[in-house]
């Protein structure tokens, strides 16, 4: 209790700190972020008008999709101009049904993906005024409704049910990036609850009588807003037909499934009853079968013969299939005697260890790592057979309890070692200051002259320990990638994406991959990209959620250039021998004001971690990185070296907008003045007009006055907009980290010392003088 209070107080202090500092200093330079697309999908073969919300995607916009079949055009208003944030999306009949990533490209570049679904049912978009029984939105069976909850409100839908005609309601939300934790309720016509689902979003309901039924939807804690969107499907289903659900996005952990070459459907199947050793299902190794944890307290026991000396790898996928399961495997040796049997545990296999520890905000409420769960509760491990004989393998779900859940499936693979690996990467989020509780989606949207760092992690399969080369291709012009290796036996490496200082706007869907030598042959495996879904200000109460993106969109812009670019001075690769000292000159280009005296540069990666940080004075054009390979004990090898440093830049955003608006205002103001003059003249003319011309002149004066009024109203609007833009364009102090363009260093083995002359004397303890490293270029 005391601890809790302390924690709570801490949290309060922190938010105060935030409130105070937020005014003075923002965290991270603006990056384009697509927040919502409403509606969130459409029927194949149709078009749908969507509205987007975003951060930092002002100016001309382009809505793109991970499936090139889906296209979008801006909505054009009556004035012939594009209406910001609105698009007409065309979904051709052959667009694949399922989840796609929508992303918004604007002058700062490309945003991360937001789920956009293509379905086969007719869709409607509900405006969100259906907060009572009386205002319930009518829903036809076999339709999908796109909607969002409002704060402290319940959405009502009505449909006509027939006695015995089964319907399934499926509310797709959290798994399509929404912040909504949906509660779905089936109620009678009065609104009295009949059946409730709070965990799965799915209701399986067979009306007891003909009549009107209500479906209610709300957030578990009655939160709401455009970010709390959902797609509600109402389907009629055969009495014993399967429950069909909408497609969902993939968890980050899913990157390591399936293993290369696995057949899509398991050849074998688990068969019940097998909960008791006496009922064990007989299998032979290797095996590949599908099973189910469905029954309450289910335990699946398999029995097989194994031969001494064999090593078997066991992999179970269930959580990575998107289920809320936690499989565990136990292998036992069974010796049967006349008295019965003796059983000894051989191996207990549990989670796939996270290659990089996921960040938690507990208990200290501080950032402790990335917001990505690359490990999994699934199983990947091996057992060694020490004796010939009978063995049993138990598969169980640690999340099992008294409840029965039919959806909980698994795939069990037992194989001889097939060494391999799987990769996933994400743009680095770095903790920028004490009590930094925020997490932001980091799209691969580069400013000219910027370098973005990505963390790459690997799940190694079946004993593969070799080093992995990381690379990226199909990048936009002006963008290059250089990768650190994932060293042998290690689980983590880095990739750097650099945009040249004179790059022009470009976009492409890139490919990331890792290459390694496995069993003597070179294999290449794709590397998936993961992203955080929402900007989160205070992660202890809103844990950052993340998922795998459909692909790897990369953009570069010159709308804004990097506030500072730091790179090797005209040279990108270096060569040295073990034990030498390498001096690498660095050149800096400063395009923005910075606060403080200097930026302290620290190297990435473990190899150079012991290096002293470099103090780069603000505005200094040159500095030097000194690598004492002897002190760092750097072994021979190829290395990529990049530094990062935290600085506060004085960011002056959107000056263009202000300029345009100022011009608009000037024009409007001149126009208004001209009209005012004209009106004045006409009024005077009317005053002095002859009686027979009076009526006509007065009419003309009145018309001119009206025109003048309209122009003034327009001017007021433009002035207001200018003020908003000027405010938005005010210089802001932004705390961010800046990555240097990486350089390559090739460390060669130490030269063989010359054979000593037979009579020469040597002084013990003195090392030969380090020769000066030579640039290899």
């Amino acid at each position: 209790m005391a601890l809790k209070n302390a924690h709570f107080t801490g949290a309060c202090l922190v938010s105060l700190f935030f409130a105070a500092s937020a005014v003075a200093q923002q965290v991270c330079l603006p990056a384009p972020r697509l927040l919502t697309v409403t509606p969130m999908g459409g029927q194949a073969g149709g078009t749908v008008d969507v509205t987007v919300t975003h951060q930092h995607c002002d100016g001309p916009q382009e809505l793109l999709f991970s499936s090139p079949k889906i296209t979008a055009k801006p909505v054009v208003g009556a004035d012939g101009r594009e209406v910001p944030n609105r698009f007409k999306v065309s979904i051709p009949p052959d667009a694949p049904v399922g989840v796609h990533d929508a992303r918004l490209r604007s002058r700062l570049g490309i945003s991360a993906g937001r789920a956009f679904l293509v379905g086969s049912l007719p869709e409607i978009h509900c405006a969100g005024t259906n907060h009572s029984v009386e205002t319930a939105q009518k829903l036809m069976p076999n339709t999908i409704c796109n909607a969002a909850t409002a704060k402290r409100a319940i959405d009502f839908y009505s449909f006509v049910g027939s006695r015995g005609r089964r319907v399934v309601v499926d509310c797709n939300a959290a798994r399509i990036d929404s912040k909504l934790a949906p509660v779905v309720i089936m109620a009678d016509a009065k609104g009295d609850d009949l059946l409730v689902s709070r965990t799965s979003g799915v209701l399986d309901f067979t009306p007891p009588a003909d009549g009107t039924y209500l479906i209610k939807v709300h957030d578990i804690a009655f939160k709401g807003g455009t970010e709390f969107y959902y797609r509600l499907a109402l389907r009629e289903v055969d009495v014993d037909g399967p429950v069909q659900k909408q497609e969902t996005t993939a968890r980050v952990s899913a990157f390591s499934w399936p293993p290369e070459g696995l057949v899509p459907v398991a050849p074998g199947a688990e068969t019940e009853p097998n909960n008791q050793p006496s009922q064990a299902q007989q299998i032979t190794l290797p095996c590949d079968l599908s099973g189910s944890f469905a029954a309450a307290t289910d335990l699946d026991i398999f029995e097989f013969q194994a031969v001494k000396g064999d090593v078997w790898w066991v992999e179970v996928a269930s959580e990575r299939l998107g289920l809320n399961t936690d499989p565990a495997v136990l292998v036992q040796r069974v010796v049967k005697t006349e008295q019965g049997e003796t059983v000894t545990d051989v191996a207990e296999l549990d989670d796939i260890t996270a290659p990089m520890k996921m960040g938690t905000y507990l208990p200290a409420s501080t950032y402790t790592g990335p917001a990505y769960q690359a490990g999994s509760p699934d199983v990947l491990g091996k057992f060694e057979v020490k004796e010939d004989g009978l063995y049993r393998l138990h598969v169980r779900d640690l999340n099992r309890d008294a409840r029965s859940r039919t959806e909980n499936q698994y795939r069990l693979v037992v194989r001889r070692a097939q060494p391999d690996f799987a990769l996933v990467a994400w743009a680095v989020h770095q903790r920028l200051r004490q009590n930094d509780f925020g997490t932001l989606p980091k799209p691969l949207a580069l400013r000219a002259g910027t370098t973005i760092a990505l963390e790459v992690v690997v799940v190694r399969r079946d004993g593969f320990e070799g080093e992995i080369d990381l690379a990226m291709e199909n990048l936009p012009p002006g963008v290059t990638a250089s990768g650190l290796k994932i060293p042998a036996g290690k689980l983590q490496g880095m990739l750097f994406l650099s945009a040249s200082e004179n790059a022009t706007p470009a976009f492409s869907v890139a490919k990331m991959a890792g290459r390694a030598v496995v069993n003597g042959s070179t294999v290449t495996r794709p590397c998936r990209l993961a992203s955080v879904l929402w900007p989160v200000d205070y992660a202890p109460t809103e844990l950052p959620k993340s998922r795998l993106m459909a692909d790897v969109p990369v953009s570069v812009t010159d709308f804004e250039k990097a506030p500072v670019s730091i790179a090797g001075d005209g040279q990108t690769s270096w060569e040295a021998s073990v034990g030498e000292t390498v001096k690498i000159p660095l050149r800096s280009v400063w395009r923005s004001e910075f606060n403080g005296a200097s930026i302290k540069l620290k190297p990435y990666g473990t190899v150079f971690a012991a290096m002293k940080e470099i103090d780069l004075p603000i505005k200094a054009e040159k500095t030097e990185a000194v690598l004492d390979l002897a002190a760092l004990k750097t072994p021979p090898g190829e290395y990529t070296l990049a530094f990062s440093g935290i600085g506060v830049t004085r960011h002056r955003p959107n000056q263009e907008d202000v300029k345009t608006a100022e011009e608009d205002q000037k024009r409007a103001s001149e126009e208004a003045a001209a009209l005012a003059d004209a009106a004045k003249a006409l009024t005077e003319k009317a005053g002095a007009a002859l009686p027979e011309e009076k009526e006509e002149a007065t009419k003309a004066a009145k018309a001119a006055a009206e025109k003048q009024k309209a122009a003034e109203t327009a001017l007021a609007g433009i002035t207001k907009k200018l003020k908003a833009l000027t405010d938005a364009a005010a210089t802001k102090d932004i705390l961010d980290f800046f990555v240097t363009e990486p350089v390559r260093i090739s460390v060669k083995p130490a030269p063989v010392p010359p054979v000593p002359a037979p009579v020469a004397t040597s002084v013990p303890g003195t090392a030969p003088a380090a020769p000066t490293a030579l640039p290899s270029k």
């Binding site: 709070r198 578990i220 804690a221 009655f222 809320n324 207990e348 169980r396 309890d401």
Partner: protein
């Protein structure tokens, strides 16, 4: 008794031992009470004894050996520090506990003299304590001397009446003196006197009949009535009449759904000539979500659904809703408990795991499970033997062992964990003996649980065995109390031999029926509320006014805080706005305690904070602040006079004053006003009203104010804020 029990004096020839002869003296003299030398952990002034002598070996060490034996002086036994202090010859914080000329004092002297034997192998051991009489019927105001005998392993029997301890379970009915003389007060009914000696207990059950003639009984509608009326007949208390329709409708709506019947419901019910209409109302209420809301609130508090941090919100909403949905679906009680106790996963997919966040320590898990689901209070047994019970530390740790394999991982919900079963042998260390203890149900032997099996499921299995002596009884007794205000065993979660039910046959029958129904909670409520006993009037007859425990009439009770708030909201027509919840949410549906902070009335009227597993956390008693709140709180004033409130709407509505008054009475009391009430109210609405300056208000304003006054007056009646 002709057998002539061997008296203590007659045994004097035999060498004394500590267990049989000295420890009972220390207990009788309260040396080892919790407030004195058995104070937890410290004792008094360095001298420590076990509570009520449950650890004689330790006590012996402390008396004879600790402090280099300074507490006893074998050379001159009567000069022993132990005795000098006990007799207050040397200054003693506890005062004089033993008179120097008493038999007890002499016994201790003799024991020291004989060499301070702890126990010889040949010494008999105590095996039972028996009280005489064990069951008796006595007149109110009479007295009865109890005799207590101890039986030993060698077949010997001792009269220990002098050294035994006596305590009545209902002090308003009877008191027992130190010597075992029971004096009955004026109240009729059943009372038990507990007798304690040397770690064993026995009970004398006394029936105190009123002796009035019971020649006319209302019709029995089920076994409850048969057993309640049989008891009333036995003790001679005639029951009240069956209550009228209005009273029934209001009572049953409040008790099942925690709400007043609507005006329309009341009107329709009163008009309905169907003789089965009461049963029909019970069915309708049980079907309504109001039932699930009301009982979920009750359970959520007992299961500690409390908000300490903002981040608790989601899990609190989810956990409360899980209970509510289970009740709505009428999930059998044993299944609900099983789902809760064996919950795994994380709160977003299985809200029941939230309980393991609230109840994190195995100690609290044991105590909560025992008290809530078994009606057994185990708190004492963690450190020492339960003084009134047969449960000791071994039982405590055996129960704790069921929770020994709970694994915890971080989850995707802030501040919440994933709960899972850690494979392995379930066991817990007995802190006393340092031995590992296997799981065992109370009173059962250790269970063999395979490492793959979640022991919590085995606990749930044990609970729902048909023969489990606690599980069903604890629940039916709890629900009985909900509907009848007093448990058959009271407090409702303190089932023990020494606190017997007032109607044991009824408790057994209810439990058996509940088990037989498949732990059907709605069926239990149906059975309870259909009974004539439940439907008796609260108006006493000439004989039963003083009956507090035999259910000869309905015992009125003040509405619980949430129900009261909803009733006020209904009558005033001004719903309370609760943070984070949709407008129109009723107070009985509130998920956690956080609203006690935002809505003063809830706090003032004793809504619990979810701190305790005991329903007693809910404050039923009256207080000055409650009266003041109803009389003149700003909240209430605003409700009565608020725009779109009932007064406002009645003003705007068509219809006569009489119709409006009728509507108010139906809403508040589910009945029509009497002619007298109508006349008075009509007169009040017609009166002229002056403002502060003494100027007459315009008639519309005057009527509006009078209507507000009338509503305010109605909600300040006992008839309104009581369920009767």
């Amino acid at each position: 008794m002709g057998m002539g029990w061997a008296s203590h004096a007659a045994e004097a020839a035999k060498p004394l031992n500590f267990i049989n002869d000295i420890e009972p003296i220390l207990t009788k003299a309260s040396c080892n009470s919790g407030g004195c030398h058995a104070k937890a952990g410290v004792g008094q002034r360095g001298f420590r004894l076990s509570v009520l002598g449950f650890e004689p070996q330790e006590d012996y060490e402390h008396i004879v050996k600790e402090g280099k034996g300074r507490r006893v002086f074998p050379a001159a036994p009567d000069q022993s520090l132990l005795l000098l202090k006990a007799a207050n010859i040397m200054p003693h914080g506890g005062g004089k506990r033993l008179a120097p000329d008493s038999e007890e004092f002499r016994t201790v002297v003799q024991w020291i003299n004989e060499g301070m034997v702890y126990e010889r192998e040949s010494d008999p051991k105590i095996v039972a304590v028996e009280v005489e009489p064990a069951r008796i019927t006595l007149k109110a105001g009479s007295q009865q001397q109890l005799k207590v005998r101890a039986r030993y392993s060698d077949g010997s029997v001792r009269d220990v009446s002098r050294t035994a301890l006596y305590e009545a379970n209902d002090k308003s009915m009877a008191e027992a003196s130190e010597e075992g003389l029971v004096t009955l007060h004026d109240l009729p009914g059943n009372v038990a006197v507990m007798v304690r000696y040397s770690g064993l207990v026995s009970v004398c059950s006394i029936s105190v009949p009123l002796g009035a003639p019971v020649d006319r009984l209302p019709p029995s509608r089920n076994f409850i009535d048969e057993l309640v009326f049989a008891n009333l007949k036995r003790i001679g208390i005639p029951p009240s009449e069956v209550c009228d329709d209005s009273t029934f409708l209001r009572r049953v709506s409040l008790d099942i759904a925690g709400r007043l019947p609507t005006e329309e419901e009341a009107e329709a019910f009163l008009k309905n000539p169907d003789p089965a209409k009461r049963d029909a109302v019970i069915e309708a209420l049980l079907r309504s979500p109001g039932y699930a809301d009301f009982f979920a609130g009750k359970w959520a508090m007992l299961l500690h659904n409390k908000r300490d941090l903002e981040s608790d919100t989601v899990s609190n909403f989810a956990f409360h809703a899980w209970i509510r949905d289970s009740l709505l679906a009428n999930t059998p009680y044993d299944v609900i408990v099983r789902d809760l106790l064996a919950a795994t996963g994380e709160v977003s997919t299985n809200p029941a795991v939230a309980w393991f966040k609230r109840v994190k320590e195995p100690r609290q898990q044991v105590e909560d499970v025992a008290q809530l689901f078994l009606g057994v209070r185990m708190q004492c047994a963690q450190c020492h033997h339960h003084p009134f019970e047969r449960w000791g530390q071994q039982d405590y740790y055996s129960l704790a062992a069921f929770f020994s394999q709970i694994g915890r991982k971080l989850s995707s919900t802030p501040e919440e964990e994933t709960i899972f079963h850690k494979r392995g042998t379930a066991q817990t260390e007995n802190k006393k003996t340092r031995q590992q203890v296997r799981p065992a149900g109370l009173g059962g032997g250790p269970l063999e649980i395979a490492p793959d099996e979640d022991p919590r499921l085995k606990l749930a299995d044990w609970m729902r065995e048909k023969t489990n002596p606690f599980f069903a009884k604890a629940l039916v007794n709890r629900y009985w109390k909900h509907f009848f205000r007093r448990g058959l065993v009271d407090p409702e979660d303190d089932l023990r031999d020494t606190n017997p039910p007032t109607n044991p046959e009824l408790l057994d029958a209810l439990a058996a029926k509940f088990v037989e129904s498949g732990y059907d909670l709605k069926e239990l409520i149906r059975t309870l509320t259909r009974s004539t006993a439940y439907q008796l009037s609260s108006v006493p007859n000439a004989h039963n006014e003083t009956d507090p425990q035999n259910f000869s009439r309905y015992y009125p009770r003040r509405l619980p805080a949430e129900v009261l708030l909803d009733a006020i909201d209904t009558l005033t027509g001004s719903p309370t706005n609760f943070p984070d919840l949709p407008p129109g949410t009723r107070a009985v549906s509130l998920p956690d305690n956080s609203y006690n902070r935002t809505t003063a009335l809830l706090k003032v009227f004793g809504r619990p904070e979810g701190l305790s597993v005991c329903e007693c956390e809910r404050v039923d008693s009256a207080s000055l602040s409650q009266s003041l709140h109803l009389l003149n709180s700003a909240d209430l004033k605003a409700k009565v006079s608020g725009p779109n409130g009932r007064a406002d709407r009645l003003m705007k509505a068509n219809g006569t004053d009489a119709e409006k008054i009728r509507s108010l009475y139906l809403t508040a009391f589910a009945r029509l006003p009497s002619a007298e009430e109508m006349q008075e109210a009509e007169g009040y609405l017609k009166r002229s009203v002056t403002d502060a300056a003494g100027q007459p208000l315009d008639p519309a304003k005057a009527k509006r104010r009078s209507l507000e006054d009338l509503i305010w007056a109605l909600l300040n009646t006992k008839e309104f804020f009581y369920n009767h």
